[in-house]
Amino acid sequence: MKGWHVRDIIFVTILAIFMGTIFFVTGPLYTVLAAALAPAGLQPLANELLLGIWVMAGPLAGFIIRIPGSATLGEFLGAVVEMFFGGIWGASTLISGALQGIGSELGFALTGYKHYGWFTLALSSLTTAIVTFGWDMIKNGYASYHLGFMALLFVVRLLSIFFFGGVLTKLIANLLVRAHVLPSAAH
């Protein structure tokens, strides 16, 4: 198992900034969505729908740099960049970033950093959804929602994370494997 080299650290940070820049493009979409849903008290749904793009850096970094900690670092560095680059959520960005990273890392850790395929990505999506939802229960008071609405939020979040962090990440990885950038390793 190899350790972190400066090249990997630079790569993960550049990737995190790229993901932030792409996420930024969805800004208007989010604003429209949030504004439309807010009057009905459904604004959190807008977060849930797009959360997948936000947490994609984790599984991508984990999949490309196959070192323990890469998913966490990918997501966390993204949060650091966001904090210094006009982000307004400050310290809570860092905490959320670290938790999102750990959530996605768990998927890779549970398969022993040996399997890089569908199962791991699905698992990683599930763990990310659980960890981040747990944090929102505490931080944003999701715990006091009615059970039905809470379930709706969780399912939408899981689907969003699974689409972006699972399906899309796998499709990207497939391209990278075919271009001989990634090894066509076991799944």
Partner: protein, 470 residues
Amino acid sequence: MATVTIDSLTFTYPKRTHPVLDNLAVTFPAGKFSLLTGVSGGGKSTLLNLIAGLTPLPTPGAIRFDGHPLAEIPAAKHANTVAMMFQEPSTQFTMDTVENELRFALENQRMTATDIPAAIDDALNFVGIAQLKHRILMQLSGGEQQKVALAIIVAMNSDVILLDEPFASIDPPTRLTLLQKLMTLCTQQHKTVILADHDLSGYAPWVDHLAVLDSGHLALLSAEETQERFAAFTPDRLRLTRVTAPQATETACLQGTQLGLFSGDRELIHPQDLAFFAGQTTLITGPNGSGKSTLFRALVRLGHYQGTLTYQGRDIQKIARKSYARQVGLMFQSSMAQFLNVTLDEELTLSQKNGNHAYFTPERVTQLLDQLGLTQHRDQVIYSLSSGQQKKAQLLCMLIMAPQVLLLDEPLKGLDLASIQTTMQILTSVQQDLGLTLILISHQLSGLDGLVTHHLRLMDHHLLYEGATE
């Protein structure tokens, strides 16, 4: 000072069968300026990276500095032994400002903190860029960035200075300054300089030795042989017989009104009116770094400009992006930038799906592929093709799209003579058949004659058609 000795060095890229460097044995003398030359993609960068210790050596000890392999020299002394200036000026810095980057380099060498400020000022003064000390690196021009890169090497006091095509995108006055400083470093401080460039023009007064890298083999010429080689070398000359000044009858397709271009706060093109004419092939020439590529980026809405730009009478900012991109296309200087898929076949399929498929029938595409010698590479990963093959594939992909106006930024870069001729034939016939408007930037001047009809010169921040008067 340090002599660089290379001894039985063979290097093969991963997954390739033929070595790019084949049993090299050569000595670069200390205190001399050597020019490493050879075709693009011929292994010059690979060799420099091996010397600099940035690529691990296949056999330890194959490269030695005054008899010592780099591995035997303590890590903190590496940069003191050998340092490199890279081709791409903007991705060679770690820190935000010039001063901080110099500090970073000197801290790495474990220089005492109190000695650092003086060392920084000395290095900046040597290169003559004291005024840049507090500037942000990413806001400097490519030429200024290369000067900073040299100042860092001077501050680190590196014995061997490697430069990998350092002048590819910088203006002639900066190139001259850098060459003068390198010369001073050679003669007064006995630094060993090895500079890689595929173009020999303008080096004769500076270079002691020419090192020619040809199909994996390297020959270092003596000082006399070098001067003979330079004397025999005639730079590529532009011979255009079909060029005329734009006539009043021609219709303008792209038009700029009071068009001004800037790079940061530096003026590239002073606001002027400008027109490109439909159905013509216009060649733009001008010094490196004068703003030719920036003009192209502005024309495809990838850069800021002053004034207005219209396409067929409509402001290009008011045309839907998607529709504009189909009418005015750019063949980027970097082939990588053009590709979206994995294999050559997928790239062609994409272009055929979205491009002018009435003209580019499968038979025609097959025939063009054959002409370009790409048929057997159809299923290959496009990123694993040689740079010349990538260039030809890129051109084909953009031609199949057949936008009304096609901008070509260095379309012949890295091509051998035979490929240049084929490419020019294909370009000429497609242009005639489809009536495309072509605008090109090219350093490669021979072979353009049959195609070019207008010649636009960029001089002193101004663009002027050959034969036209103000």
